[in-house]
Amino acid sequence: MSGVSGKSQGNILDVQDLKIHYPVHAGVFLRKVGEVKAVDGVSFSVKAGETLGLVGESGCGKTTVGKGIMRLINVTSGRVDFTTKAGKTVDLVPLDRGGMRPLRSEIQMIYQDPFSSLNPRWSVGDIISEPLDVHMPGLSAGERADKVAWLLEKVGLRGEQAHRYPHEFSGGQRQRVGIARALATAPRLVLADEPVSALDVSIQAQVINLMQDLQEEFGLSYIFIAHGLSVVEHISHRIAVMYLGNLVEIGPAREVYAEPIHPYTRALISAVPLPDPSLKRPDRQRLQGEVPSPLAKPSGCPFRTRCPQAIASCAEQTPPLVEVSPSRFVACLVVAGAGG
């Protein structure tokens, strides 16, 4: 699996074998009875200026990966190598809260819910300048106000709206405020956790276009988490598909979309609705059954219980990500012949 997350120039983030497990306690003495393997050995990298789309259905661990990278939750094992503006590469996993603090100005996050992600008691100006207050405490009130107004204009709002409160804005405008907050400290990497899933379709497009414009202007890298491929396809350079805590496929967005290889990716793409209802998909795939509980993951390939192409050896071996064509990686024994 060299190349998936191998050290190469221009990567600003290298995630290697990231595992996030939660113990499950039960009984009077709270004995540990099991483990939820929310993220079970995920590896990928993000290049400077690139957008990586991370997709999968609800509960597959994509948000957990994001929070693990941000170190908002504890990571069980693995490495998260982040390259700072100064060109230093730091592993974020062993850092504590204090060690993480200086790096937080370079990695920021956009949240899913534009309502709960803004403190209702703060004015929008105060919300946007919170990262500034933490990382640049020396800023004068005037400089701070100028910066807030500049940020508001960058995300398509008006500077004088800074003293308004979140409840006076629509969902799309609130999400723009969230984006302005994420940009306040001029980060290198922005994790967007389903930033448009709570918005109307017409507003979704506006916010995605805004994010693309900002990426060009500031040279940002995005990890764009979403549960559907249709949203991600437009903005992403590469797409990584997750299923039950594992990556099953990763590759350039256009190729993955036009020619999915992993059976799960194929099913996911055939589930994307077509704008024209008279068009029939010849290769429509429907998955049978439910996603298994992450408490009792199937042995071997996690997808084998729902896979139309599963064979006997799928139960014995967890398929590794294998490069099937340049820069395309698939974890499947059948279609990629991995482990053969």
């Binding site: 996050m109 990262p131 409840h167």
Partner: protein, 289 residues
């Protein structure tokens, strides 16, 4: 583009536009003035030494000479109610504030930090809540002896636990909100998150709790006083007067009714004021007001 109101301007607009809040604010302010200036307002001296001068006119109904009548000692009820304001308001406000402060500290520490801190503090809360609150208050006051200090201690120790529980559950839900996550992701420390994000969002509940607490405290103090564990009889609180007045309520209802009305009016005033304050401090309400 309308100009934003500062909390002070909003407060003024709220007072001038909302008659109940205005009444509450005026009433609470008047009560504080009366408490401070009581000896100058009261027309007759209150206390044992004044008994001799009024002997023979016990349980006199209200008249121009004695606005609220006299009690079975012959003391002027109006003067006693005025003097009682001082001890009642003082104990009500200070004991409520103390138990709120302790409850908020416990609730925030417990809810925000969790783990063993949460376990220890919540078991302690359980112990306090396991006793009927009045029984616990009496127990503490009795073991400490009578006097104002022991009333404070008894009311505070028995009063913080409910607030602590309430604040803990508020903090638990607020802690999981995305804006708190965003503050952590921005690099904010625990102090900043607690004081800038969590406490301001608890404020409306805390104000309502506090105004309710004042009523409960005044009534608990009255019960303590009735048992002889409260304020000394040289400076009787309203509670003491109500309970002693009950002995003669058939012949002379005015002895109990006036201090009881004073308690009711005081609790109402603080509740109205509290409701108004809660709205004034909520950004969402500022446009409506």
């Amino acid at each position: 583009m309308s100009r934003r109101l500062t909390p002070l301007q909003a407060g003024w607009r709220l007072l001038s536009g909302n008659p109940l809040t205005l009444a509450g604010a005026v009433g609470a302010a008047a009560l504080c003035v009366v408490a401070v200036a009581a000896p100058w307002i009261a027309p007759y001296p209150v206390g044992v030494e004044s008994l001799a001068s009024t002997l023979g006119t016990t349980l006199e109904p209200p008249s121009l000479g004695h606005l609220f009548g006299t009690d079975w000692h012959g003391s002027d009820v109006f003067s006693k109610v005025i003097m009682g304001t001082r001890v009642t308001i003082f104990i009500g406000l200070v004991a409520s504030l103390l138990s709120m402060v302790i409850g908020v500290l416990v609730g925030v520490a417990s809810g925000y930090f969790g783990g063993w801190i949460d376990t220890v503090l919540m078991r302690l809360t359980d112990v306090v809540l396991a006793f009927p609150s009045l029984l616990l208050t009496i127990l503490i006051a009795a073991s400490l002896g009578s006097g104002v200090t022991s009333i404070f201690l008894a009311l505070t120790v028995s009063g913080w636990a409910g607030t602590g529980r309430m604040v803990r559950s508020l903090v638990l839900t607020l802690r999981e909100q995305e804006f708190v996550l965003a503050a952590v992701a921005a690099g904010a420390g625990a102090g900043r998150i607690i004081f800038h994000h969590i406490l301001p969002n608890c404020l409306s509940t805390l104000i309502v709790l506090f105004t309710l607490r004042i009523g409960i405290t005044i009534l608990s103090e009255a019960s303590l006083s009735f048992l002889g564990l409260g304020a000394p009889s040289s400076a009787p609180s309203w509670g003491v007067m109500v309970f002693y007045g009950m002995d003669h309520v058939r012949q002379a209802p005015w002895v109990a009714i006036w201090p009881a009305s004073a308690i009711a009016v005081t609790v109402l005033c603080f509740n109205f004021l509290g409701d108004g304050l809660r709205d004034a401090l909520d950004p969402k309400m500022r446009d409506v007001l």
